[in-house]
């Protein structure tokens, strides 16, 4: 699989996670989101940006609880819960939001 953007090709794995995470940019994120039937709003971007910041520091996506806590701080208590995150990313904030953020898919018993 791959994504096409402005004549460039971005390789991805079978599930649409881009293979070279250093090539990620915001336009590509929009494109991946479109593929996932998600229209990116400011709230989506808060999540995606937090994932990227966290990944940069720790080389792994944050635990769901860490993510909800961060979103609670940024967007307020009514949005700081996994229910809201699933509203934003119906296929799961860990997997779907990571895909849009250009991060590797979290693996394991999750």
């Amino acid at each position: 699989m791959s994504y096409q953007l402005h004549g460039s090709t971005f390789e991805s794995d079978e599930e649409g996670y881009i293979t070279d995470i250093s090539l990620w940019n915001e336009e590509l994120a929009d494109l991946i989101a479109q593929d996932e039937d998600i229209e990116m709003t400011d709230d989506h971007w808060e999540v995606v940006n937090f994932l990227r910041e966290y990944y940069e520091e720790y080389q792994i996506a944050p635990a769901i609880r860490v993510l909800t806590k961060a979103i609670k701080k940024k967007l307020g208590p009514e949005k700081g819960n996994s229910g809201y995150l699933y509203e934003l990313f119906p296929y799961g904030p860990a997997k779907q939001a990571c895909k849009i953020a250009g991060l590797p898919k979290p693996t394991g018993c999750i």
Binding site: Y58, Q59, G92, G108, C109, I110
Partner: protein, 515 residues
């Protein structure tokens, strides 16, 4: 969502009409060359795969006497045919355990029996053609190795062992499964399935400590790499990452806190799961288990306790001793290994935990026996402890508990539908359909007895149900960790609201503690 229809739930599980080929399209992604090679397997399908596969098959038959017996002994009685949740959920006849076994048995007959070598057509012997290999890859990845069928087999043929052997053969010729093999590589590299590096793990645990203190007012610790602790806790890394798993982890921490037992997690062994069992690789299984032994020795602990993970408990309980034992450096006064449920159960039976059952009054619970705990291990000294301990804990912390139908629990339990290395998005259709029998049993107690939630002690079960229950109309929060219930009910000394002085962190004096 993939393109398929969620089955309608029946009042009880009926044997479906046959739907030949219904799941022929369902295959997991093939492992990439680097995932294969990291485990010492060929990167991709080798040119002489047929001969290599037959040679490997012969090697396994020599190594595992059980495999040869299972190949020889089936009389085709059919007792297993309607026992597999994947058959019940899909109707695909190749998901009948006997048919799944026969995919391998026909090749066995062709190459390893005299009659099959000379008169293959008379004895149902067949060559390992490309089409047969493809069937192996398809249908041995539609077996969650839950062993329900083996309970009903009059000869005790274990389809799990057959599917492990098939996967081992496929790995050896370069046809491995992405989900399992990528994960095993991560454990070997970072210590856990998720690939969480030490700084992230430490930060996550610190964060949880903060949360617990904020909520309860008590400084409950989740220690990491603490030498000299009494207990090493190994738990699935999903406990650090996912919901409802993390609520169970918080539960363990509160139990240790109230018991006054020092404990630690380990970076090196930050994973209880051992996916190598799913692919039948003894060597990988040994390597993954060895990390735990090594961590226990390095930290100088006296006991090892395993968290809520089904197949990890099977590996620990049934295989650790011969894989990486003896564990003679541990305190002989305690079981080695010990299950977190054994630990909590013991405290409860001694009255050492202060519990307020009403904290769980908003729920009516049922309990899902995880396949590997139910059919491949035990808890405590008595037979059946693996069924009774979890239920007794739930009843000690909840007022409302109802069991599902007798034929769907204990050693007749239905798999969640995601075990055995199948908990991956590329098998979602299989997972949803395979959960049907369990969902039918759940629906019955939900409709008739007001059950609202289901507790489990396996990371795979929890993730699987969180994913598939919504397909059947139940919220993802309907699945809970057993120790989440304990966490809700436990009243810590000095906890907010426990005494009149919530601002004050001083220990409460009202209740007698365990010492």
């Amino acid at each position: 969502m993939a393109d398929f229809e969620t089955p309608e739930l029946d009042d009880y599980t009926r044997t479906p009409g046959l739907a030949p080929g219904a799941m022929a399209h369902s295959q997991p992604f093939i492992a990439a060359p680097d995932h294969q090679q990291a485990l010492g397997f060929p990167g991709e399908l080798v040119d002489d795969w047929h001969d290599k596969a037959i040679a490997k098959f012969g090697e396994l038959l020599g190594k595992y006497r059980s495999l040869r017996v299972y190949m020889d002994i089936c009389v085709g009685c059919g007792a297993c045919t309607d026992k597999c949740h994947y058959f019940l959920g899909t109707g695909d006849p190749k998901n009948m355990p006997v048919a799944r076994q026969d995919l391998m048995r026909k090749v066995y007959r062709r190459h390893f029996t005299l009659a099959g070598k000379w008169f293959p057509h008379l004895v149902g012997a067949e060559d390992l053609t490309e089409a047969v290999l493809d069937d192996w890859y398809t249908y041995f990845h539609q077996c969650s190795q839950c062993r329900r069928c083996s309970v009903f087999c009059p000869y005790g043929i274990d389809t799990a062992e057959i599917s492990m052997a098939a996967r081992e053969i496929m790995d050896s010729i370069g046809k491995g499964q992405k989900y399992c093999n990528e994960i095993i590589g991560k454990v070997i590299k970072t210590g856990n399935n998720l690939g969480i590096p030490q700084p992230a793990l430490a930060a996550t645990l610190a964060d949880l400590e903060e949360d617990i203190e904020e909520e309860t007012g008590v400084a409950v610790k989740l220690p990491l790499d603490q030498p000299g602790a009494e207990v090493l806790v190994v738990t699935p890394s999903a406990d650090f990452f996912a919901e409802p798993h993390v609520d169970g982890l918080i539960g363990y921490a509160k139990v240790f806190h109230q018991a006054g037992t020092s404990w630690t997690l380990s970076t090196h062994a930050s994973e209880a799961a051992n996916f190598a069992m799913f692919i039948g690789s003894y060597e990988q299984m040994r390597q993954v288990a060895e990390r735990i032994r090594q961590a226990a020795e390095d930290l100088g602990v006296k006991r090892i306790i395993v968290g809520e993970c089904g197949h990890a408990w099977r590996v620990a309980y049934s295989f650790w001793n011969t894989l990486v034992g003896p564990f003679d450096f541990l305190d002989p006064d305690y079981p080695a290994p010990q299950h977190i449920c054994e630990f909590t159960h013991d405290l409860i039976s001694r009255g050492a935990l202060t519990l307020d059952k009403s904290a769980n009054d908003h729920m009516t619970l049922t309990y899902h026996d995880s396949c590997n705990v139910a059919r491949a291990s035990r808890m405590g000294p008595e037979p059946g402890g693996q069924f009774h301990y979890p239920r007794e804990i739930i009843k000690a912390v909840c007022n409302n508990f109802v069991d599902m139908a007798a034929e769907t629990i204990h050693d007749g339990t239905y798999c969640c539908g995601g075990g055995g290395g199948l908990l991956t998005d590329d098998l979602l259709e299989l997972r949803v359909k395979g959960a049907k029998p369990r969902m039918e049993a759940f629906k019955a107690v939900a409709d008739e007895q007001g059950v609202t939630h289901m507790a489990a002690i396996c990371a795979i079960c929890k993730s699987q149900f969180a994913k598939v229950m919504p397909a059947y109309g139940y919220g993802m929060d309907k699945i809970v960790s057993l120790h989440q219930l304990v966490s809700n009910a436990i009243v810590l000394e000095g906890q907010n609201g426990e005494d009149d002085d919530p601002e004050d962190d001083a220990p409460a004096v009202e209740d007698s503690s365990d010492e």
